[in-house]
Structures are given as C-alpha cells and as structure tokens.
C-alpha cells in the first residue's frame, strides 16, 4: 500500500446519518402540527427503500451490507416521504419510492452515479401521475374542520376508508402556495388572501414552523461542515431577489419574499435537496450558479406553472446543467491564478 498511510475515520454512513438526524426537528414539527400520519409515511417509505435497495444491490452483484449501511437509500426515502402529503395512500408512497430507488438511483449506476436527485424524480413522477392524491395535504390540526385518530388515518392510508360520514375535504386543505395561486386567479387582493386561516405569521400555519425546523437542521449541517454555505445561500438569495423584485413591481399580485421563504419546499430544498452532493456541482462557483438557478426557476414554476410548488422541477432542471456548470467553473490551480 502506498502513501498516504493515514485516513480519517469519517464515512459516508456518518454523513448520511447526520443528515437524517438534521431532519428530525422538521419531522417533530410535522407531527406536532399535522398529526402522526407522517410517521407512517416515513416508515413505509423507509421499508420500501431498504427492500428495493437490497434487491437492486443483489441484482447488480454488489455487496449488500456496506451499501445498505451507507444510509443513502434511507435518506432518499425520508426526503421523498417529507415531500408528499402525509395521509397519502400507501401505493403512492411505494410507487414514488420505487421510482426513486430503482430507476433514478440504481439504473443509473447506484450511489454516486445518479445524475438526478432520486427523491425529486420520485416526487415528479407522483405529481404528474397522481395530481389529486399529491395535493391532498392535511390541514393544520388547529384549523381542520374534523379530526380523526391515528387508527382511522391508517385505515385511510391502507384501505382507503374514512370513518362513517366524514369527508376527506374536511381533513385536508390546499397548501398556502396553492391557495395563493387559486385565489389570485379569482382576483382576490393579496391582503385578503393572506388573512385566510391557513396562513400563519410569515408562511402557512404550522408549515412555517416546519420550515423553521428545516432551517435549524440545515444550520446544524453547516456547523458540521456536511454542507457548504454556497448552495443554501444562493438558493435563498435567488428566491428573495426574484420574489422581492416581483413584489416591488406588483405588490397586489405577488406575495412578499417572506412567504416564499417560509412556504413550500424552500427550506427543505435549500438545505437538504439541493445540497445532495451527487447530483450537484462540486466547484464553489458552480454551486452558486446551480442553486441560484434553482431558486429562480422555483419561483417561476411556483408562481406561473401549474403545479403547487416548483422546487422539485427546478432541482431536476438544474441537475441537467451540472456537468456543464462544473466544466465551466473550474477554479484556477495553485500558481496559475490571474
């Protein structure tokens, strides 16, 4: 064996575990505001991901244990589960996870080789194929018209049955971003829209706290040097600048940047999705371009597209550009700086 003879004891598993840990505050906030259904979604996605990961590793002739232990499949499962409505039917979760693990990850070469963010591929497949189920988000417990217990939630997720006389509409609501879009189409003034009960202080009721928890988890990842500041900073800056510009020119039809930061997938995107190293650029300048582009596209798709949020498509579109971005942002090497 030639030099170096020393290696650090860190590992891929350690990185993935820390990212999973950083998601825990957001999961807790989710449970607090929207009930425990999300835990079922997470578990189902995890089991599906681990089973399919094992099957794919076997089929590809790779050692199962080290790759299962790397935690990447689990992380993909969690990110997808947190992106879809918590009370979605079981097959929704399984289908999305299967696409993420089997097609987006392993058919492209497995860990480290996939050009597209697996969780976002899973999400994109689901939102295109099952738009109805993908927009049935639970209303925050404080404003939901009816409440059901955990057992009834499970009944709905696995057997599609609700308690006698209860309508799904009473449990769910459109997301804050979706509500904004539809209400603006109805020519409602923005101030009136934002005083609807679904909105909280800056974002959606409850949802803004989840966003805050993602921010907290993200700061932990920054402090642990798992992620660098470039991606979250550029993504948040792009959303602020784009939303800020539209808001300044036309405040009657465009919400303030605060709403765009606190609602939707902004925070999970900034700290957990766009920071995926495999599908993002590696150069510092490249990271800035990538995340800024994603922020800009997120806003445009969110406001002008036909989907409730734009982050997933923005990420996938920017994933396409990564090889190009990397090739054109190579930093000058030692001694050859201008």
């Amino acid at each position: 064996m030639s030099s170096p003879h020393l290696t650090q004891t860190n590992s891929v598993s350690e990185i993935m575990l820390k990212v999973l840990l950083a998601l825990v505050p957001a999961i807790a906030a989710n449970v607090w505001f929207f009930g425990p259904a999300v835990l079922v979604t997470l578990s189902l996605a995890s089991v599906t991901a681990l089973v399919l990961e094992t099957v794919m590793l076997k089929l590809r002739g790779r050692p199962v244990v080290p790759f299962l232990m790397d935690g990447s499949a689990l992380l993909t499962a969690w990110l997808l589960a947190l992106s879809i409505p918590p009370m979605g039917p079981w097959w929704l979760i399984v289908t999305g996870t299967a696409f993420a693990i089997v097609i987006a990850k392993h058919l492209y070469g497995g860990l480290g080789s996939n050009p597209f963010n697996p969780a976002m591929v899973g999400y994109a497949v689901l939102i295109i194929s099952f738009p109805v189920q993908m927009t049935q988000w639970l209303a925050p417990a404080s404003i939901a018209l009816s409440h059901i217990d955990f057992a009834a939630q499970l009944d709905y997720m696995f057997f599609h049955v609700l308690p006698q006389g209860m309508q799904l509409d009473a449990l769910t609501s459109a997301t804050p971003l979706d509500t904004l879009k539809t209400q603006l189409h109805l020519d409602k003034p923005i101030s009136a829209i934002l005083s609807l009960p679904i909105y909280g202080e800056v974002g959606g009721k409850g949802g803004e706290w989840v966003a805050g928890a993602y921010l907290a988890g993200g700061l932990y990842l920054l402090q642990q040097r798992i992620i660098s500041w470039h991606v979250p900073a550029a993504f948040i800056a792009a959303i602020c600048l784009t939303a800020g510009a539209f808001h300044l020119f036309d405040p009657a039809h465009h919400a303030s940047p605060w709403l765009h930061l606190a609602a939707g997938a902004t925070m999970i995107g900034a700290f957990f999705i766009l920071t995926d190293p495999v599908t993002g650029p590696t150069t510092p300048k490249g990271k800035l371009i990538f995340a800024f582009g994603a922020g800009f596209l997120t806003y445009l798709i969110r406001v002008y597209g036909s989907y409730p949020d734009g982050a997933a498509f923005a990420v996938l579109l920017m994933n396409i550009c990564v090889p190009l971005i990397d090739a054109y942002t190579q930093p000058p090497v030692f001694g050859k700086k201008k």
Binding site: M1, S2, S3, P4, H5, L6, T7, Q8, N10, S11, V12, E14, I15, P66, F67, D70, S72, G110, L111, G112, S113, S228, P277, V278, G280, T282, T283, D326, Q330, P331, P332, V333, F334, G335, K336, K337
Partner: protein, 484 residues
C-alpha cells in the same frame, strides 16, 4: 511582525510528535557493517572510487559525482571496503541498488579536513566543495544543494527560505536539530545567503514547535534573518506551500522558485552546508526519528549506511510491530524490508503495527462531496481527476492539471468513501508517461522508416539515372562508331 499568507486546503492529522521529542538526540553506535548506496540523491549515481579490500578513512570520498546533477558519497567511518555490489536499497520498488559495503575498524579515524574561509572565496569554488561533500537536500528530496545555490547569471534571489516547518506527523528530526544545534543552522544559512546574495532570510517553523522557535531566535540576533512561526497545517512544510505562506508567491507546477526570486532549503541542509564549508566535513550522518510502534521513540544521529533494523532495535519495537514506513505517514513509503541502509533521505522511520495503522476501510463510491477539493493545497479538483483516471481518460486528467498534483495525500485522508485517490493519480501519471515514451519511440520508428523509404527511392532513382546515362553513353558511342 510579518504578514503571513495562506494556501487553500490542508489538513490537521493527529501529530504524534511529542513521543519522540522527550529525549535529546542520541548518537547511534557505529554498526558492524555499513552499506552505502551510490545513488542517494536526485540525478546520476555516483561512480565508485574504491575497490573491495581498500582501507578507507572517515570522510574519504568513495563515490564521485558523475555529471552535473549528481553528488558524492563518503565513508561514514574508517574501515575496510568489503564489497561493491547490488544490495537492497530503501526504495518502494524493493529493487537493489549499487552499494559499497564498509566494515568499520572502530577507530573512526578522520581523513585530513580542509575548512574554508567562505567570505574570501567565490561562490563557484564553494559550490564545488558542497558537491564534493555530498551535500543534498535533507528534507527528503535529496536534490544536490550546490545546483540550487547557483541562481544563474542575471537571476536575482531576493529571499532565502529555510524550511523548519516539518509538517508531517511523527517526524521530529528537524525540530530536535533546531533545538540542539541552532547556531550551526544559522551559520549555514549565512553561508547560503552569501552564496546567493539574498536580501532576506526567512526561517519558517510551524507554531507547534515553540522550543525550536525559541532556540533559533536565541541563535540569531541580526537582520535580515528572521524566524517566522507559521500555522501548523499539513502540508505547510512543502516548499511551495511554505514559500506561499512566507512570501505570498505561488510557484506554478513545472516552474522553479529560483525564477521568482526565492530559494528554499531544509534546516538540516543548512547545517550540512556549514559543516562542509567551515569544518571540511562531508555528509556522513543524519538525524533520523525512530518512532511509531516502539517503546523508546527518539531521534538518533546515525551514520549513513546504518542498517535500519539496527536502529529499530535500538528503539525497542513493541510486540505486534510489523514493517516500517520511511518518511512521514502522509508521503512516506512502506519499506519492502527493514534490512536496508539509512540514506540521506531517511528523515524518519515509523514502525508499523496493526493498532497504529489499521487497514483502510473498504472504499465506497465517490459521492462528490468535494471534501477532497476543499483540502487540496494545489487547488485541484481531486474528484474529477479520480473520475478521469479511473475511466482511463488521461487527456482529460491532464486538462484538469493532473501533473500539478503533489501527491500530498490530503484528498485521500479526508475522503469519507476512503478511496485511495493518490494511487489513482500515480497510476494515471505513469500511464501517461508510458504513453509518451511509446509515442516517442513510435515517432522515432516512423521517422526512421520514412528516411529509409526516402533513401531507397533515391538509390533506385540514382541507379536508374546511372543506367540511363550509361545506355545513353553507349548509344552515342555506338552512333559515333557507326559514323566512322
């Protein structure tokens, strides 16, 4: 206070230096047999001057520098030459090298020494002395020092840098040398400054060596010499990195710092310059750190040619010790056998054990986390170089500055996937060299072939012309005969 610069990247591996600095430098005893390789420096191997059976004195030249880039070797003690032949040498390949074997007579009798008064001499005769005294860079690169002390006409050396950074873990030979022999190092630095006409002399020492810094400061009083503590970070002791930190100058790959007005020497080299000039003593010994899986780690002053296993035995290796690394854990190499001699490049011997150097974990795929790029002191993108090297895309690897890689090992050290990155770069470099050699050879063959084809065509043409001429002559002759 001098304003320091910084370079990108670097790492902070566990230092393991205090183990071997608790005790002063100890002179290792003269062993029963010394094996002195003739090739201990960069450049051409020295030519043997003695034959088996010759009696030699301590300091006597036994191998003469051959060609310009070369250096001499000497008998480290008095005794009898018993053999000249190929012996195992401390080289990663395990190949044998031409060595002179000397059986000491125990008298340690010196040859006549001729000190020089350098202030009244011209630098070229001083350089000849250094060449004959076998003075080479003792930091590990073993480049003949007299060449570096010849800036060439029209080139001005502004700064002379003395490298006492010693950034690799475990190694403490320079640290102890500076603590104990600061006066002689400074005296050597003065000679070097005289030879280079340098304006300033900056002595860079990592700030994890406060004793060495204090000793060096105590040894020098006057400007323009300055001891500068530099931050402890690996590879801050690399010549280019230290020059960057001290002067702000970045020396590009393939260029020499001399062209940018800076020259850099190891502190131990300065000491051997002093011994060679002021005492007429060639390089016969060096300080070596024996550490790692041993019970008595410390620094020894050992004669060149001392078998390394003898030195390891002095340090009392632990029970599960197994093999040894020559140099540091980051850039050193595993000795194929410890039955090889100490050479001028041997700054440290780290005895290995499974507890101290556990086998590297199974590599995982690269997840492009970019930790390697963050740690790269050459500002490269190791993850891209890895990708291209692995794919055999050597053109792309060169485009991404593969040959600017200094193989410091930072990228491999920080890689969470434990990919042996440096090995991929070495592989790519050697493949590219092989391809270039092949291309050169095939170019040569092609040119030869073309010349041969040309020559044959010319010969054919000339032959035809001759024939035509002859027949024309014959015809005219015939015609004239007919006419007559």
């Amino acid at each position: 206070m001098k304003l320091l610069h910084r370079f990108n990247g670097g790492i902070h591996p566990p230092q393991h230096k205090t183990e071997s600095t608790r005790l002063p430098i100890l002179s290792a005893p003269i062993p029963e047999k010394l094996v002195i390789p003739l090739h201990q420096h960069i450049g051409t191997s020295a030519k043997p001057l003695v034959a088996a059976g010759d009696a030699v004195l301590k300091g006597q030249m036994i191998g003469k520098a051959e060609g310009y880039v070369s250096s001499s070797v000497h008998a480290p003690t008095s005794g009898k030459i018993t053999a000249i032949g190929y012996e195992p040498a401390p080289h990663p390949s395990g190949l044998r090298d031409l060595c002179i074997t000397l059986e000491p007579d125990g008298l340690d009798a010196w040859i006549e020494r001729h000190p020089l008064d350098y202030l009244n001499m011209d630098p070229s005769s001083l350089r000849n002395r250094l060449r004959d005294a076998g003075v080479v860079g003792l930091g590990g690169a073993v480049f003949p020092s007299f060449i570096k002390l010849n800036p060439g006409s029209g080139k001005k050396i502004k700064t002379l840098v003395l490298n006492g950074a010693e950034c690799e873990p475990y190694i403490t030979c320079d640290d102890m040398l500076m603590r104990e022999r600061a006066d002689e190092i400074i005296a050597g630095a003065k000679i070097m400054r005289f030879m280079l006409h340098a304006e300033e002399v900056l002595i860079g020492i990592e700030d994890n060596k406060p004793e060495a810094i204090a000793a060096m400061r105590a040894a020098l009083k006057e400007a323009p010499f300055e001891v500068i503590p530099v931050p402890t970070i690996y590879p801050g002791g690399g010549a280019k990195q230290l020059i960057r930190v001290l002067t702000g100058i970045e020396v590009p790959a393939g260029e020499r710092s001399t062209d940018l007005g800076v020259q850099c020497f190891n502190v131990a080299t300065a000491l051997s310059v002093y011994r060679a000039i002021a005492h007429g003593e060639p390089v016969l010994s060096r300080i070596v750190t024996i550490t790692g899986a041993v019970n008595k780690p410390r620094n020894y002053e050992a004669l060149i040619g001392t078998p390394i296993d003898v030195l390891i035995r002095l340090a009392a290796p632990v029970k599960d010790s197994d093999g040894a690394i020559m140099g540091g854990p980051m850039m050193g190499f595993e000795l194929p056998s410890t039955c090889v001699p100490l050479v001028k490049a041997t700054n440290c011997i780290i005895v290995k054990s499974a507890t101290l150097f556990p086998p590297a974990p199974q590599p995982m795929p690269c997840i492009r986390c970019g930790k390697c790029a963050e740690s790269c002191p050459a500002d490269l993108q190791p993850q891209e170089l890895y990708w291209f090297s692995k794919a055999g895309n050597f053109g792309k690897a060169q485009e991404y500055a593969l040959f600017d890689c200094i193989e410091c090992g930072c990228c491999s050290y920080v890689c969470p996937s434990h990919i042996p990155l440096v090995q991929f770069y070495r592989y790519a470099k050697s493949e590219i060299w092989a391809q270039e050699r092949e291309k050169k050879a095939s170019d040569l063959a092609r040119i030869r072939h073309e010349l041969r084809v040309d020559r044959m065509e010319r010969e054919k043409r000339e032959k035809a012309e001759r024939l035509a001429q002859k027949s024309a002559q014959a015809r005219t002759q015939m015609n004239s005969e007919e006419e007559t």
